[in-house]
């Protein structure tokens, strides 16, 4: 299996599992490629990888730990990433990757995806 195929496989698998949770987040950073099966999803997944790398560089807590802690704090369930992002924007809780301003909770979710790609 080539590297690209492995990436595609891992990411599509992850997205299938996580789609209800993170649809808005993944779309946000990769607006037109990730959901269009005719397109190469690599740019969106590369973004996730960048989020992960930035996360481990700057944060003490793992992305998964942060994600679930924040979801709990906001009294949401893991399917409500979009609501968590709204609250992040309202509370000025951001994470920046290559200039892209993300809600920190959605960033942690994307970092979870990115951690699998970076493996």
């Amino acid at each position: 299996m080539t590297n690209l195929t492995r990436r595609k496989f891992c990411s599509l698998l992850l997205l299938t599992i996580a789609a209800p949770i993170g649809s808005s987040s993944a779309d946000a950073i990769a607006p037109n490629s990730i959901r269009n099966s005719s397109n190469e999803p690599s740019s969106a997944l590369n973004e996730c990888e960048s989020v992960y790398k930035e996360w481990i560089k700057n944060e003490k807590m793992s992305p998964a730990q942060y994600f679930f802690q924040k979801i709990q704090e906001y009294q949401l369930n893991p399917q409500q990433t979009s609501e968590a992002t709204t609250l992040d924007f309202e509370h000025n809780n951001f994470f920046e990757v290559n200039g892209l301003k993300l809600g920190k909770t959605e960033a942690s979710f994307l970092a979870i995806i990115g951690s699998n790609i970076a493996m």
Partner: protein
């Protein structure tokens, strides 16, 4: 009546009540407004009814900073002036643009928005953009659009309008002027000096020359100079060489505070899937008007965050146009040329690897004039283009150089920079936009801070709006003209155009140029001419 100065007798002397110097937008509007007075008017225009390369060459600057376009390319020197090539993008200045803001040095007009407001309505008629007003609510309903900033407390949507086709002022109003019995338009008439009595403070005559080396003069009771943002300063400095700075330059203000509208492409907006912006934000047509909605930072937010005013609009871009890899490849290749290693070399290399298809596409387009990867043309997002209000800076200036043009007038040399403070304020506003809750539901903003050095140099654009060089003030120490636009130190010499703006606002200046010119005509009619 139109008279070609090339066909008049040598050393002719014309008599008039009013002499208007310059037949661009301000000159034409002023002449048109003053027609009804039945006073005799002479309008002197350097060019003719058509473009002429030799006359255009009179705009050539001696020197400009490398980032700044030579005025020879940005202005047009024939009847109608730069309206012969403008985009006709119009919008009113905001009330805050006129206010003294303690975080913007030398800000504050000696008149309020309210004082200028009545003249804006007529100005919109002149520019043929009077239909529908500038209220976003009106256009939102008309186009059945949504307001992307409806949830925002900091930003709102506002609209700018252009007429289709752009209004060329001489084509539109020239016939009316040419038919009038009380006006003479003298073409190919290049003003080279004034006759000014230092005792009485009265300007008595304007001297003009032709390329045939003939010199003539106009004697008049009132003179109004409307040469444009750079030329007003250049000619006033020229006149002052003879009259020892008595014409508005006692405090060395002529040519200083030169402002533009630096235009930066410093952020991308990436909409959520299937959530492109409504067509009003991309620009759309309605009955001979081109309407574009844009983001506007509220007055309260500007005060709270101590930012300058800024106009941000969203321009649709393909993936290749938003590619970080292409930008990184430029940064790396520029560094290699300068034998340097760029900061974040690894990051740039990664961007190139990620966007290798876009880079290959760009290369193929450039070298082989062909396209290879279809996906690179797909919609990628929006570029956020920001037109910035510049802080007035005394060191940004138009001066007379040493070289002379073909008529013996010294060429200009232009000093211009964008200060670090203005750059920081721009980033602050873009940061506020990226974090705004209204953005959260429709997409995300990427700030291109890693490209900072290129954004403010090779990628920097300009509105081609020249302002501030003969600024209006209620105090001779800090300005060149008084609030009635009369030049300090004179009793009958006025200036109109964007050179009188104390601050440049955040929108194209033409509508405001027309408004201040109509106001000047009103002043002249109600005082001097009665």
């Amino acid at each position: 009546m139109i008279i070609d100065a090339n066909n008049i007798e040598s050393k002719s002397i014309f008599k008039a009540d009013i002499c208007i110097l310059g037949g661009g937008i301000a000159g034409i509007v002023l002449a048109n407004e003053l027609l009804s007075t039945n006073k005799n008017i002479i309008l002197l225009e350097s060019g003719s009814e058509q473009y002429d390369d030799k006359t255009q060459g009179l705009y050539e600057a001696e020197s400009t900073p490398s980032i700044f376009p030579n005025p020879r390319a940005s202005r047009l020197r024939f009847l109608g002036g730069s309206s012969n090539h403008w985009e006709n993008s119009t919008e009113r200045f905001s009330p805050i643009d006129f206010k003294k803001r303690d975080w913007i040095s030398d800000s504050g007009w000696p008149l309020t928005y309210g004082e200028l407001e009545p003249y804006y309505t007529k100005a919109e008629e002149y520019a043929k953009v009077d239909k529908g007003g500038y209220q976003f609510e009106f256009w939102k309903e008309k186009f059945n659009s949504t307001d992307i900033f409806s949830k925002s407390t900091l930003f709102s949507s506002t609209v700018s309008k252009s007429s289709l086709y752009p209004t060329q002022f001489y084509r539109e109003y020239g016939d009316n002027l040419a038919r009038a019995k009380n006006i003479k338009i003298i073409t190919n008439a290049n003003v080279v000096n004034l006759k000014y009595n230092t005792e009485t403070q009265v300007v008595n005559s304007a001297i003009f020359r032709t390329f045939k080396d003939e010199q003539h003069q106009v004697d008049a009771n009132t003179f109004i100079m409307c040469f444009g943002g750079i030329e007003n300063a250049r000619m006033l400095l020229t006149f002052n060489e003879k009259y020892k700075n008595k014409l508005g330059n006692e405090y060395d203000n002529v040519g200083r505070y030169f402002m533009e509208h630096p235009t930066v492409r410093a952020a991308h907006f990436l909409p959520l899937q299937e959530n492109k912006l409504d067509k009003i934000y991309e620009g759309t047509i309605d009955d001979e008007l081109y309407i574009t909605a844009r983001a506007s930072l509220s007055e309260a937010a500007q005060m709270a965050h101590r930012t300058n005013n800024l106009r941000m609009y969203f321009t649709k871009r393909s993936k290749i146009e938003l590619s970080a890899g292409i930008s990184s490849s430029h940064i790396i290749s520029n560094s290699i040329k300068n034998s340097e290693t760029p900061e974040e070399f690894g990051g740039h290399l990664l961007n190139i690897i990620k966007d290798i298809d876009h880079i290959a596409e760009a290369f193929l387009r450039k070298e082989l004039d062909t396209s290879f990867f279809d996906s690179t043309h797909e919609f990628g997002g929006y570029q956020i283009i920001s037109m910035i209000e510049q802080t007035p800076d005394r060191n940004n200036r138009v001066q007379l150089g040493k070289e002379k043009d073909s008529l013996g007038i010294k060429k200009v040399k232009i000093d211009f920079r964008v200060t670090e403070t203005d750059k920081e304020k721009t980033w602050t506003t873009l940061e506020l936009l990226a974090k705004d809750p209204s953005i959260q539901s429709i997409g995300r903003v990427r700030l291109l801070k890693d490209r900072d050095s290129r954004i403010w140099t090779s990628q920097l654009g300009f509105g081609q709006h020249h302002m501030g060089t003969t600024k209006m003030s209620d105090n001779v120490k800090s300005g060149v003209v008084d609030p009635s636009l009369k030049v300090f130190g004179t009793k009958n010499f006025y200036i109109s155009g964007s050179s009188v703006f104390p601050t440049g606002g955040h929108v194209p200046p033409t509508l405001t140029i027309i408004a201040v010119t109509i106001r000047l005509a009103h002043t002249l009619k109600s005082t001097i001419l009665t």
